[in-house]
């Protein structure tokens, strides 16, 4: 059992917490309603609301950090949202270290990306709409992490899904964007069903959906039900966080503008699954097998992501699969239970910095390359865009776990913890995570080499509209956020893990971080193993990619594993074959059944009556003698029947 913090009513500036999400929501609403009139100033309103939110979040953070650990969990009750008979769903907020951490991440990174977008989107006629949707996302994400009950969580959960849908499909005239957006929403909905069912189960067994009450009473629930709840919650997490088997939407989501990829599909929204599991840790603490499933899913995903990441040539897709893989690490971490919750969150934060930075860098590169995303057409860009190169490079180093950068502290801690899992699990989780770390180093190095080094493959090529490429460094509004995030990439890991700063801060929400003990490999060996594998990855990448020129056209005659990886390990094909195509057939078949079968019965009945009517009326021949015959017949029948009834 977890020790639950006492929940207090918020006071001081904390009671203004509702402004956190109301500000961006209002911004979004104003931008939507104002229409074209807001085209000139809309983006600044968007930036302003998020920055204000960030400032308020900081203020609340500092107020909270000034309080003692057992007073840090507070609630703000706004109004009764849904109340029927025994059911009462608050529209209320829960402010505790966990949610505040996320608030800072969301509004912080969100502010940077908003600022970045002012430059990035400056030529887009839909910029106002973009900021409206981005603000909507921030608001929904804040509701997700701030809500004090599962329904609020669900509100934010689907709210960010909507924002993600809108932003992926931002370029409305691109059919691929529309398809990707729809796919993202649908796969998220699959996860949402899990989340919804988990809520129903909690309600059925506990009669409440408030976190406080649920965590208090979860012990009364039978173990089987607890497992069911945890698995269903995990399904929700899988949908939102692009985990196996619902990972296929995330790479497609790169159809959205790059800032969106950075904010939503790297730093914040996709980590909501990690948040969910961390948030419901009192439930997961009760079930070993529930956590095992989580860890397994995380392990599978981190490997899948890493493998596929090696094969893509699309810079954003590589980063997207990298995200899938890194979230796999986080899920693995929270799946390890009390020894991993805080590690997962730490990696989440660090990842938020460096992956956002990487995406912004990628956006900057695309900006320079006329929105081309094919790395085979890049090359030698480091001279043309030095700031991008440096910030991107720092993010890259942080990601592959270069010593003393963020990834080194957070990812290695997870792998270390993974090895301590009992029995076979330690070996499986630990080794897989280590190998994936090596793969990560490989694909990221490949990406770096293909993008920034080697010959300038873009020189001989034409842009989509027939011109030539003129790579250039991006404007200040874009580079400044990248620089800030690069700082974060470098420092976050150290700051967060130094003296267990984050773990201590999160303890009221997640419980004390337990020290991992024992395990498959000694603690001293693990970092070296990971480092060695990563170095190997870098080396292999250099040998394979760096030493010879990269062909501009993708070679098609490749080995089987590469082919499989290029096709997302057949995830889309499987979805297509198992769900989409039979679904289409089923739908067509049902339309047929409905028209011919169900409606056919209706119309057939009518036709039956009509037909028999047409035949029967022929009996009315017009001959008076036949009428007399029918009368006589009727008479005989009536008389006979009367007698038969009487005398039988």
């Amino acid at each position: 059992m977890t020790e639950l913090p006492t929940v207090e009513v918020a006071s001081g500036i904390t009671s203004l917490a509702w402004l956190l999400f109301v500000l961006p929501a209002a911004g979004s609403l104003i931008l939507f309603v104002a229409g074209r009139r807001a085209n000139t100033w809309g983006h600044w309103l968007g930036v302003l609301t998020v920055v204000a939110s960030f400032a308020l979040g900081l203020a609340i953070f500092f107020q909270t950090i000034g309080m003692s650990a057992d007073q840090r969990t507070t609630e703000v009750h706004l109004f009764d949202w849904i109340a029927v008979a025994g059911l009462k769903v608050d529209f209320g907020l829960r402010l505790d270290p966990l949610s505040l951490t996320f608030v800072l991440l969301i509004t912080g990174v969100g502010s940077l990306i908003h600022i970045y977008s002012v430059g990035y989107m400056s030529h887009d006629p839909g910029r106002r709409r973009f900021f409206a949707q981005l603000n909507l996302f921030v608001a929904a994400m804040l509701i997700l992490v701030l809500g004090n009950n599962f329904v609020m969580l669900y509100l934010g959960w689907e709210g960010v899904g909507l924002a993600s849908y809108l932003l992926i499909g931002f370029y409305q005239d691109r059919p691929s964007a529309a398809t990707a957006a729809k796919k993202a929403f649908l796969m998220n909905r699959v996860g949402d069903v899990g989340l919804a069912l988990a809520i129903f189960l909690l309600w059925t067994n506990l009669g409440t959906v408030q976190y406080t009450d649920v965590f208090e009473r979860i012990g009364q629930v039978s173990p089987g039900t607890v497992v069911a709840i945890t698995v269903l919650l995990l399904l929700g997490a899988c949908g939102k966080s692009g985990q196996f088997p619902l990972q296929a939407w995330l790479p497609d989501a790169m159809e959205g503008p790059t800032p969106v990829s950075a904010l939503i599909h790297a730093a914040t929204m996709v980590t909501a699954g990690v948040y969910l599991i961390a948030r419901t840790n009192p439930i997961y603490n009760l079930t070993e097998s529930g956590r095992l499933v989580v860890a397994l899913i995380g392990t599978i995903t981190l490997l899948i992501g890493a493998i596929i990441g090696c094969a893509y040539d699309d810079i954003k897709k590589v980063l997207a699969y990298s995200t899938v893989s890194q979230i796999g690490y986080m899920i693995l971490a929270v799946g390890l239970g009390p020894i991993g919750y805080a590690l997962g969150i730490a990696h989440l934060l660090a990842h938020g910095f460096f992956k956002a930075g990487l995406f912004l860098g990628a956006g900057s590169v695309m900006h320079a390359m006329d929105d081309n995303v094919d790395m085979r057409r890049y090359g030698g860009l480091w001279r043309k865009m030095p700031i991008t190169f440096v910030t991107f490079g720092l993010g890259y180093l942080a990601l592959i776990g270069f010593p003393f950068l963020s990834g080194y502290f957070t990812k290695d801690a997870i792998i270390e913890a993974a090895f301590t899992a009992p029995g076979w699990q330690g070996w499986v989780f630990g080794l897989t995570a280590s190998v994936a770390a090596g793969l990560t180093a490989f694909y990221m190095t490949r990406l770096m080499i293909m993008t920034f080094f080697g010959e300038k493959r873009w020189e001989e090529l034409e842009t989509s509209d027939g011109g030539h490429y003129h790579p250039h460094e991006s404007p200040l509004s874009m580079t400044v956020p990248m620089i800030i995030l690069a700082f974060g990439s470098v420092l976050a890991g150290f700051l967060l893990t130094n003296g267990k700063a984050l773990a201590t801060w999160l303890a009221p929400s997640l419980g004390e971080l337990r020290e991992a003990e024992g395990g498959a490999l000694p603690h001293s060996v693990t970092p070296w193993l990971v480092l060695a594998l990563s170095a190997l990855g870098v080396l292999v990448a250099y040998l394979v990619v760096g030493r010879r020129p990269t062909p501009v056209e993708r070679p098609e005659r490749v080995s089987l594993p590469v082919r499989a990886a290029r096709r997302d390990l057949y995830a889309n094909a499987i979805n297509e074959a198992v769900i989409a195509r039979p679904g289409t057939w089923l739908s067509r078949f049902l339309v047929f059944v409905d028209n011919r079968g169900v409606d056919g019965v209706v119309n057939g009945t009518a036709a039956l009556f009509g037909g028999s009517s047409g035949r029967l009326r022929r009996l009315q021949t017009g001959f008076v003698r036949s009428y007399a015959l029918s009368m006589l017949g009727g008479t005989v029948l009536v008389a006979a029947a009367l007698l038969v009834v009487r005398f039988s």
């Binding site: 849904i82 005239d173 964007a177 529309a178 649908l186 129903f200 409440t208 739908s587």
Partner: protein, 530 residues
Amino acid sequence: MLLLILLLLPLVGAAVVAPMKNNARTAKLVALGFSLVSLVLTIVTWFSYSVAAASSGTRFQLELSVDWIPAFGTHFALGIDGIALVMLALIAVLVPIVMAFSWEERIPEGRSAAGFYSLILATQSLLVGVFAATDVFLFYVFFEAMLVPMYFMIGRFGGPRRQYAAVKFFLYSLLGGLIMLAAVIGLFVVSGEQLGSGTFTWVDLQRMAASVPESTQIWLFLGFFLAFAIKAPLVPFHTWLPDAGAEAPVGAGVLLVGVLDKVGTFGFLRYCLPLFPFASKTLAPLVLTLAVIGILYGALLAVGQTDLKRFVSYTSIAHFGFIALGIFSFSSQAFAGATLYMVNHGISTGMLFIVVGLLITRGGSRLIGDYGGVSTVAPLLAGAFLVAGLSSLALPGTNSFVSEFLVLLGSYPRQPVYTILATVGIIFAALYVLWVYQRTMQGPLRGSAVLGALDTVGGPGTMLDPALSAKRSSGFPDLGRREIAVLTPLIVLILVLGFFPGPVLDVITPSVVATMNEVGLADPVGGLSQ
């Protein structure tokens, strides 16, 4: 008295408007005036209704009862509970919107706008009667009578296959109604046996319900159920709806799907459950099966539709499945959810219908395949479509979420299997809404309806040229002022009820709790929360 005025006012309006054949504008204004006065009166009614009194056991309020046909024991008895009140409110809100929407509707050759508006008012009046009747006979009378104006609306003002659709609608409903008549008569006879003299007064019949023999209950239940299942419509009695919905003029379609069909689900809740508690419980699995089939089947069919209006109709069939699921799951939350769902579905599907209507007015085609990339030329229209669609797929923050969530949450404790299947339905809901949105609104400009409308103004060209797109939009215009005015109240309601359903739920709750008592069941989860 208030209810009587609410009932008669639109009828008077209908009579006043009907003869104004040659002055369409006056007719429309007068009709709109009547509907707005009705709206005001409904607001007065809303505030006259006492939640406190309902909570303390008053079953009906604002009652009025006059002997009607003593020989049959019938009364002209009106009265409302919370469930009826929210339905009245829905009618009052939708009618002016429908009228404003239909303002420039193309009336077929030889028909007059006065006739159409008069029929809308007549429908409104009869619908008020249906929801406000507290006498089973009176209810039945309104139930059947409301077919007539709707029949004329579809048959006279509808699309190319309007005759077929109108006749199908009328006969199908009439068949259900007549079978219900058998049950109504049976109920009368049974009440004669049980109470000494036959009665139709709902309260008396409810009081007698527990002592009615079980087999009798089942037969009577089936009679009522069939009529309501056709009206609602539940699969497999639904095939009239796509036809009627597709051929009806949009305004009539809104009233048909938005309000008129709710009479079916309202009937489940007001008549089937309290009057035949035993049968309701016994046959609940049957109904639930139909409901869940409806959710999945309706959704899959919606995915496969090629006609926009049929598409909306099939989404409604799926939604009615949710409502039926809530009603036959027997918990306060599910009941309240189902009731709220009736209101919300009226708003969101009403809006979806209207938006589809706007689209069809512009493109002149009902086929989904004839549209594409509309958001490029008409972003507001696309946005409105999306809002309506999101409400239809029950996105949290929109009104439908609250009701769908309540239905599923309330159903789960008693019917986990059905609820799980129904919950899967929300994926399909997302699928059909987004897929249609993608095909009609997103992507490059395409489709004969869109291009045809544009070609009449300017030739095809690159779409991102703002000057050209402004020129193009005159061929396929974005929303005009009147259209924005029609849609705004709906959008506001969608959002407001999504975040603040409290006032409506407060009105509903005492009545559904009363219904729970009448069914004789306790909430499955009620005790735990204490």
